[in-house]
Subunit: 143 residues, 3 copies
Amino acid sequence: MIAEHNTILCETNGDSHIIDLTSNVQETVAESGINTGQAALLVHGSTAALSTLEYEPGLVNHDIRTAMERLAPHDAYYKHEETWQDDNGHSHVRASTVGPSLALPIVDGFIPLGTWQQIVLIDFDTRPRKRTVHLSMIGIGRS
Amino acid sequence: MIAEHNTILCETNGDSHIIDLTSNVQETVAESGINTGQAALLVHGSTAALSTLEYEPGLVNHDIRTAMERLAPHDAYYKHEETWQDDNGHSHVRASTVGPSLALPIVDGFIPLGTWQQIVLIDFDTRPRKRTVHLSMIGIGRS
Amino acid sequence: MIAEHNTILCETNGDSHIIDLTSNVQETVAESGINTGQAALLVHGSTAALSTLEYEPGLVNHDIRTAMERLAPHDAYYKHEETWQDDNGHSHVRASTVGPSLALPIVDGFIPLGTWQQIVLIDFDTRPRKRTVHLSMIGIGRS
């Protein structure tokens, strides 16, 4: 049985910047030597989220942001901003709704994704951030 | 230690068609022989999502669809559609928001769900699709 | 290899009441003796959800609730209520959208969260509820 953890680091611009983590995740899984098992991914911090998405410019630069504006407009009133005098109440709400974690099967040594399905980090914060994604993998190696 | 993977296949009508996967998942977990552990579920493709839901006709045929129309109306403008000349920008946005994966505890040989809590696939695409759900299970057997 | 399960119990007021589970989860993980591995968390029932959130009063008492009203207003029409003659159609829709489960890495014996990132249960039901969160942990101990 193999159990390993690793981190993926990235820099974002904030403002719903979406980063494609697929290659990083697949390489980290491959290096673990696990053939059959699971990866648990968690983004560190409460203003970013993890999901999967077709990584093409329309969705990445426009459509996700537009829908998130419907759910949590950046210029609505947020009581969060009375606590901290900052401007990222909408960032927190969006991140908690999309969610911070992914449970990913490892099958034949990699994560079985669709061709147009990428693992993404969405940074909802209002400023550039350095982000850490924790990745723990557990399973059995090639027999 | 047991580590296994399996797939669940289903056919959907698209347009927020919701499929109850509970029996399939519970049977697959039972066949693995795992008593205590975890199952990671991931839907293949970027226009469907996994969650849990009370599987009754009102929620399944009406209420989820209506809320998703508020988040990502099917007739809004999506830049995605300039990339592909298709019509499923809203499908992608909805699927990424609800999320593609579930992390499910295995307790005493099955997934401990509420009576009115079913494991569901929601297909947000605009046409019928054949869907694959990857399921990896890891844990220890009955001692 | 260690595989254990446990439950966390809490009482909520319903109506988007948010409970901070972080201490409970971290203590349960510590007691398992796992150093490197994963925790899968699942809330029992279809009207509550799990996520992470900065646990401060503005987000907890106001901002999450306000955004969920945009997604699924409590006073909209829900066909669910024709099935059961109850009043919690919006609760189901919100819970399924946020999601019932979390996949959490265990690194050096605990869940690596941000300082302002707490593990939370959000109870979307319309009345006080006793809630059970199932937690299964798997991994390897300190060597």
